[in-house]
């Protein structure tokens, strides 16, 4: 299993190198090596590098929090978007864009706002869902909270100026167009949370047996649930603030990892990190290459891949041959 992970990591490196080379202007190693090609180096260091790094980091974050949420809700079809976290983050990001201060620390303020939104949405979902006492109740509550959040985004987009509207749309669909070194810097705040998640692997394995069962096996379930949800909200909040809602990555990546390797979280969590980074990088590269120089939002690409995959999962689940 370790060797698979190392191969995946190497593959990710290759992906990164290829993605750095692709774009409107041709970059070759030769041109970068030559002393006087400042433009090429500029494009590489100021445009492509932050964008590629950001997409890898965000992909890793979103996919890992997806794996976390799936284990926690012990539902392989759960996803931060499905439990309302991303919707809440998008709503608060939009609120900040439309009603917030025009200047200042836009990056940090926006990230904080999105984080608060994702926390509030999660808290609301737990509050509503717990009354039903069932996991499905929580998913249904998440769908409702998500729908309300997105209609909130819709209302805000009516109030917005043209410039703001562009930003709001960007957040609703997800895009790395605005990637720069500052956003890479902010995304690094996900790293401690990601690291912490890796330490929850064993307990998440046991959580998949059920809340009651996990309690019988010595897990303090409410404490673990709170911590895991805070971590997922933090990561999702940061990711959404930087590049908007990237649909389906959190859902499908853990599945892919489970399919090719193993269900144990000690493998699914780091595996999702690497594969998530790879997939989002791939999707972003497609989104900027496909109709170049026009760029389609990366969320559209991931949804185009993820939607059919999700349907496939549901159909497979129905036929009794479950994943």
């Amino acid at each position: 299993m370790k060797s698979t992970l190392i191969i995946a990591l190497l593959l990710l490196l290759v992906f990164i190198l290829i993605a750095l080379g692709l774009g409107e202007s041709e970059l070759s190693i030769a041109s970068l090596m030559s002393e006087d090609d400042a433009v090429s180096r500029m494009i590489l260091m100021e445009v492509r590098m932050p964008r590629v790094l950001l997409s890898v980091l965000v992909g890793a974050g979103v996919a890992t929090s997806g794996a976390l949420i799936q284990g926690l809700f012990r539902n392989p079809l759960a996803d931060p978007a499905l439990i309302g976290v991303s919707g809440g983050a998008a709503l608060f990001a939009s609120l900040y864009i439309v009603l917030g201060p025009e200047v200042g620390l836009l990056g940090f303020g926006l990230a904080l706002s999105a984080f608060i939104g994702s926390l509030l949405a999660t808290w609301l979902v737990i509050l509503i869902g717990d009354r039903g006492g069932r996991i499905s109740g929580m998913l249904l509550a998440g769908i409702a909270v998500n729908a309300v959040s997105l209609s909130g985004v819709g209302i805000l987009s009516l109030l917005a100026t043209d410039q703001q509207l562009r930003s709001v749309t960007f957040w609703a669909l997800g895009s790395f167009n605005h990637a720069d070194w500052q956003s890479v810097l902010i995304s690094l705040f996900m790293l401690p949370a990601l690291l912490r998640i890796l330490f929850l692997a064993r307990r998440l394995d046991i959580m998949t047996l059920g809340d009651l069962e996990a309690g019988h096996l010595g897990i303090e379930v409410p404490k673990l649930r709170l911590e895991a949800i805070l971590l997922a909200a933090l990561i999702t909040g940061i990711a959404v603030s930087l590049c908007g809602v990237i649909a389906f990555v959190g859902l499908i990546v853990p599945h892919l990892v489970r399919m090719v390797s193993h269900a144990r979280h000690a493998i699914v969590l780091p595996g999702s990190m690497v594969v998530g980074g790879m997939l989002v990088l791939l999707a972003d590269t497609i989104s900027r290459q496909l109709f170049s120089p026009a760029q389609i939002p990366v969320g559209i690409v991931t949804a185009l891949i993820g939607g059919p995959f999700f349907i496939y999962l549901i159909v497979k689940k129905d036929s009794g041959d479950r994943l």
């Binding site: 012990r74 392989p76 047996l209 009651l212 069962e213 269900a263």
Partner: protein
Amino acid sequence: MNLQLSQVSYRIGEKCLLRDVSFQIGPGKLLVVLGPNGAGKSTLLHLAAGDYQPAEGEIRQFGHDPFNLPRSERATRIGVLPQSSRLDFPFKVREVVHFGRSPFVTSQKENKRVVAEVLLAMALDRIAERDYLTLSGGEKQRVQIARVLAQIWSVSQGTCLFLDEPLTSLDLAHQLMLMRLLKTLATGGHCICVVLHDLNLAMRYGDLIALLNGSGELAEFGEPPAVLTPQVIKAIFGVKTTLQPSQFNDRPGLLFE
């Protein structure tokens, strides 16, 4: 005493699920909980296991109030099998059973040994590497039982095992296999509480029987031959019964009208 319940009542809203239940069991006893559907058997089991706080009365596990003990400490001496457990992730059978070892800091080698023994005891050794999701209902049930057994396997004294209808979806041979195994474990010093519906198995394997009536009261408590009389069965289940001496066992079998 491993387990003591004194005047325990439990209600949800206005509805009283259990009324004034008191009994105690020591080590080495196999207690069978019987009663009609909705009598509160599962509620009783979960109360005794420390999952719910009783509305009135006291529960003591080894002299302690379970709610005063951290989960991790309880998990080393209390194993619980709920009526139904869902697992939707493709773990291997061996891994699921291995989860039962998680409360312990025993060595990997020791854990592997226990898991191997439990797999063998539950006749799961041949499917140990199978994906849990591909198993039949009865096989899944056996895996879940094995997981709970792995939790108390290497400890011989001072444990309680609570199993809520473990025989559902097991075939005859596996039902008997499990009852024999539980009997052996009880003889070895474990205290075992199991909810059953089969009065014959209760008669044959139980050391003690707690019989609940339809309104959540403990109607009878005692040794099987004393509790499972035709009069009592008629009164609780409304079924006429005759006792038939068995050639396999010193306790009689039950024949129903």
